[in-house]
Symmetry: C2
Subunit: 142 residues, 2 copies
DNA sequence: GTAATTGCCGTACCTATGTACGGAGTCAAG
DNA sequence: CTTGACTCCGTACATAGGTACGGCAATTAC
């Protein structure tokens, strides 16, 4: 079910679609769309007297924004923040991104430490003579 | 409250303590100890006719093992696995550690990709002329 | 016109790793 | 003997990000 209506300019078409179409074009679950509504990340279109709600393509775009931001490691709370910053000075957005970047760097240092430790364990293991006694278990024990 | 009792060797003392002491020496919450009991990671000492349960120092050591393994990024499920492998051939333990290692490496690649993307955003931002219009928000949008 | 999809809505459930709470029992100190 | 601290136990709550279900309404397909 498609509804078209004209903007006052008489030029721009705004297409509106049902929730399942929204979910489908984005490749996500209907429930996820509804979840974002509950979280206030997108606004729920008003329910018409008769029939189903229809969602403008703005909503689709907004969810795309959300999904891309998630890929960049932002949480939904941070994304809500980003969305509210739409017309705010660059500096605030930049700050958020920098904050995120330093968190990412920290996490990478963590993982490097971890990688080293795991490699250490495996080296011990490969030098092991005694088949029935694993040095990994040993070395993790106090 | 401390209870000492002798092992048959007549040499080794096994000290037993209350749950809050266990938590205290480990720097964790009492509830966490109880949570590990529920998860089957440690066994709950039987309750004496009168008074409180007392925990042997083995329990403390076991929890230390758990905590170290967690630091290495193992989940509680994996740790349960490790604990059950105590006297098993090295290969199984090694396999678990290798699996973990490759997960760590994957995660690092992810984070590097993310770091690059975030840096890209910040470069755009610093090249920005228009104070009121942030390219980060723009570039995340479709 | 009837059957099969969808939509709508509230609510419960999921994973992972704990934390918190309430009420009753127990213990140690003053 | 009373007070305060601790234990025990079951259950609920917390976070993050959804997913699932049940019952009823509306729409679409044939």
């Amino acid at each position: 079910m498609l509804v078209y209506y004209l903007r006052s300019s008489n030029k721009v078409l705004q297409m509106t679609i049902t929730i399942s179409k929204v979910a489908k074009v984005l490749g996500i679950n209907v429930e996820t769309v509804r979840f974002y509504e509950r979280r206030g990340l997108i606004t729920q279109p008003s329910k018409p007297e008769v029939g189903y709600r229809h969602y403008p393509s703005d909503t689709v775009n907004r969810i795309r924004f959300i999904k891309r931001s998630q890929e960049l490691g932002f949480t939904l709370d941070e994304i809500a923040n980003l969305l509210s910053l739409n017309d705010r000075p660059c500096s605030q957005v930049q700050e958020l991104a920098e904050h995120k970047l330093s968190a990412v760097k920290e996490k990478m240092v963590d993982l490097q430490r971890l990688e080293k430790a795991l490699n250490g364990l495996l080296v011990q293991c490969s030098n092991n003579e005694d088949e029935n006694h694993c040095p990994i278990i040993e070395s993790l024990q106090p």
